[in-house]
């Protein structure tokens, strides 16, 4: 199963249009701004969201650190980045 790394809002849209529905998504960098707009189920790199002042209160949002990010990467293949 593919893991999708999303680096901005336009990238999220491109990803959502093209992923398999069950593929997990990690929001990173400016991709974390998506938390203030949508409530898709996803992982989010906690330190990138915190840096930007974004708090996620959605119950489908799973904050992760780099260690958990590495674990997701080993559990999925390939890992595809999106940042249109």
């Amino acid at each position: 199963m593919t893991l999708h790394l999303v680096f901005n809002l336009q990238g999220l849209e491109s990803c959502l249009q093209r992923r398999q529905p069950a593929d997990p998504i990690v929001l990173m960098g400016d991709g974390t701004y998506a938390l203030s707009q949508s409530d898709i189920e996803c992982f989010v790199l906690r330190e990138d969201a915190a840096a930007r002042g974004i708090t996620s209160n959605g119950k489908n949002i799973h904050g992760i650190d780099y260690a958990e990010f590495v674990e997701l990467s080993t559990d999925h293949n390939p890992v595809v980045s999106w940042a249109d």
Binding site: Y33, S36, A51, R52
Partner: protein
Amino acid sequence: MKKLLFVISAPPYTSKRGTAQLEAAMVAAAFDAEVSLVFRGDGIWSLLPDQSAQQVGQRSFAKVLQALGDYEVDQLYVCLDSLASRGVEAAELMQAEGLDLAAQQLLLAEQDAVIGAAL
């Protein structure tokens, strides 16, 4: 004394252009220009409170923004259309006066120069 408008349309922390824009605005104020600043597009994310930039090893945009006051740069504006299209309420942001597109049109028309309209 020229009227200079600084535009911030990129989000903070990925590129560091927004911070550099603030620094340029402070220098302009120190040079006695009449300075105003407008946040639009993804630049509006710069105004989220509670940024913790030290987590990613950067200076906090919010701190640089506060320093603007020391330079008497107090004409801070935010584009209401950019907020609406991102589902953000003005009340969630640090203080900046909301401007609709017509008001931005007037603001632009009275400038001597616009800096970083592309940032």
